[in-house]
């Protein structure tokens, strides 16, 4: 797959990963009295972060800011 095609596909992946993060964060916020959920969600969020690192926002070439 070329990079153009990949980037289109990556956008879809990114939006699904974002949905996973939102779901996990919502659940975690509700799990303060439920250690088994709370701690597992903390670990799930770390895994979601790894997916975000693997599919980052691809900045345009050049300086930012």
């Amino acid at each position: 797959m070329n990079h153009m095609g990949e980037e289109t596909n990556l956008k879809e992946i990114k939006s699904k990963v974002l949905l996973m993060r939102k779901t996990a964060e919502e659940l975690k916020n509700e799990a303060g009295n439920f250690p088994a959920l709370y701690r597992n969600l903390s670990r799930i969020l770390a895994s979601i972060k790894m997916m975000e690192l693997n599919v980052p926002d691809a900045p345009e070439h050049g300086n930012e800011g």
Binding site: H3, S42, D57, A58, P59, H61, E64, G65
Partner: protein, 444 residues
């Protein structure tokens, strides 16, 4: 189908360099701001230099950010929040992992990691293992003493992450480990080059097993430069009948580079997760072009508990001029880590790298794997003594071997040596990192 994929991350590993650099700039700004906001140590360092997060607008601006040395980390640790001190960026209760440096060059540095950092460690290693053709079908034997040193811990977790089966060698002794590899038909292994050779020696001489007859097909090395030294790599590959790969990493940094399946004579820098800069040791100028050696200044772009921002690693490296046939766009450092800025010692006025001696010794047929280098003084004159072993059954060739050794040492290091030949098996053996270089001159 996943197993057939060449790259762990087909997007990042083939990203054009200019896009990788744009990603590095964005990530650098993020980690700099994170450290500035959450670590008193970093904020103080940057305020003294007059640099704020908004000042970093280009890769060139990054070079104005002060570097951090290991000695600075030693000074702030063992204080509150105990034991990590002011560089800690998260509440103590978010730290889930403790490791420490080996203390080879002084008091050990403690390394706190959150669970996210620990996932990040194994993610870095997943790039390594996939590039070295580890797959879910592998049964990976890890013969190391699981303890406070990071060593192969993250390799263990990464092997699990990629779906391989992991056999922890833990407290088994060397012979028990070899027998376990044989019993379980393990296909891959991770160890220091010293131990890879030591295991082969033990298999042959203590168990009567030819290590090449075992089922190990790939070995990942760390901790020493041996797997990037061609003669040492060749010895390991021939002994085990396996492909031997190098990688470089450090406790305070992470697993930042790896050799790929093409074995191109260098290591890929994982430029999606790390920013590597090379600085001339004498002038302090930054080296952009291939072929010129300098010390590495490195940033781990995604590590949060105790950030690693422009860390002066003292590792000596150079960019390779050639792209890798594997197709990865992560740049190669030629020959791996070729030395240390603090251990390339001047002897008789000439720079001496222990790796150069290793390359000579391991390249001579008839010499054993072990050797030792002692530098001392006779009066005001430096003296280098090289102790070697002749393999069993080759003792009658000593004169010939000595001649070849002298010539090769003179050619590769420009120095003369006092040569000592010892009986096979009498020089010290090491299980992890070897200490073969002893500079006794300061004691005189």
């Amino acid at each position: 189908m996943v197993s057939e994929q060449k790259y762990w991350n087909p997007f990042l590993e083939t990203l054009p360099l200019e896009k990788l650099q744009a990603l590095q700039l964005k990530k650098f700004r993020n980690i700099f701001e994170w450290a500035y906001e959450h670590s008193r140590f970093h904020r103080s360092l940057y305020e003294k230099a007059g640099i704020k997060p908004e000042d970093i607008r280009s890769i060139a601006d990054i070079k104005h950010v002060p570097t951090v040395e290991k000695s600075m980390m030693r000074d702030i640790q063992r204080k509150e929040p105990f034991p990590y001190g002011d560089a800690l960026c998260v509440p103590l209760e978010e730290v889930s992992e403790f490791r420490q440096t080996s203390g080879t060059t002084g008091q050990p540095v403690y390394q706190p990691d959150t669970w996210q950092d620990w996932e990040w460690w194994s993610e870095c290693w997943a790039f390594i293992l996939w590039a070295q053709e580890y797959r879910p079908s592998d049964r990976v034997f890890i013969p190391f003493g699981y303890n406070v040193f990071v060593a192969f811990w993250a390799g263990h977790y990464a092997a699990e992450k990629i779906g391989a089966e992991v056999v922890p060698g833990g407290v088994l002794d060397t012979q028990a480990r070899i027998l376990k590899i044989q019993e379980l038909r393990c296909t891959a292994m991770m160890a220091t080059p010293t131990y890879v050779l030591g295991m082969a020696d033990a298999a042959r001489n203590k168990l009567g097993i030819d290590p090449a007859s075992l089922t190990i097909s790939k070995i990942t090395c760390a901790g020493e430069p041996g797997a990037s030294i061609p003669t040492t790599k060749k010895r390991m590959e021939e002994a085990w009948g396996a492909k031997v790969y190098d990688h470089a990493g450090a406790t305070e940094i992470g697993a930042w580079s790896f050799e790929c399946e093409s074995q191109p004579g260098g290591l890929h820098v994982n430029e999606a997760f790390f920013l590597v800069e090379i600085q001339d040791i004498d002038t302090g100028e930054y080296i952009e072009e291939p072929g010129k050696r300098g010390k590495m200044i490195i940033t781990a772009l995604d590590r949060v508990a105790q950030p690693c921002i422009r860390f002066d690693s003292k590792d000596v490296i150079e960019w390779s001029p050639d792209p890798c046939p594997c197709g990865r766009t992560f740049r190669l450092i030629k020959g791996g880590v070729v030395g240390r800025a603090d251990d390339i010692t001047k002897v008789k006025g000439v720079l001496l790298s222990p790796s150069a001696i290793e390359e000579v010794v391991r390249g001579i047929d008839g010499l054993g794997d072990e050797f030792e280098v002692v530098v001392d003084k006779v009066g005001d004159i430096d003296r280098i003594t090289l102790k070697v072993e002749i393999v069993k059954g080759r003792e009658s060739e000593r004169q010939k071997i000595e001649g070849v050794l002298k010539d090769q040492l003179r050619l590769k290091t420009n120095l003369g040596y006092v040569l000592e030949f010892h009986d096979y098996g009498t020089l010290p053996r090491y299980d992890v990192k070897a200490k073969r270089f002893k500079d006794l001159r300061e004691k005189h």
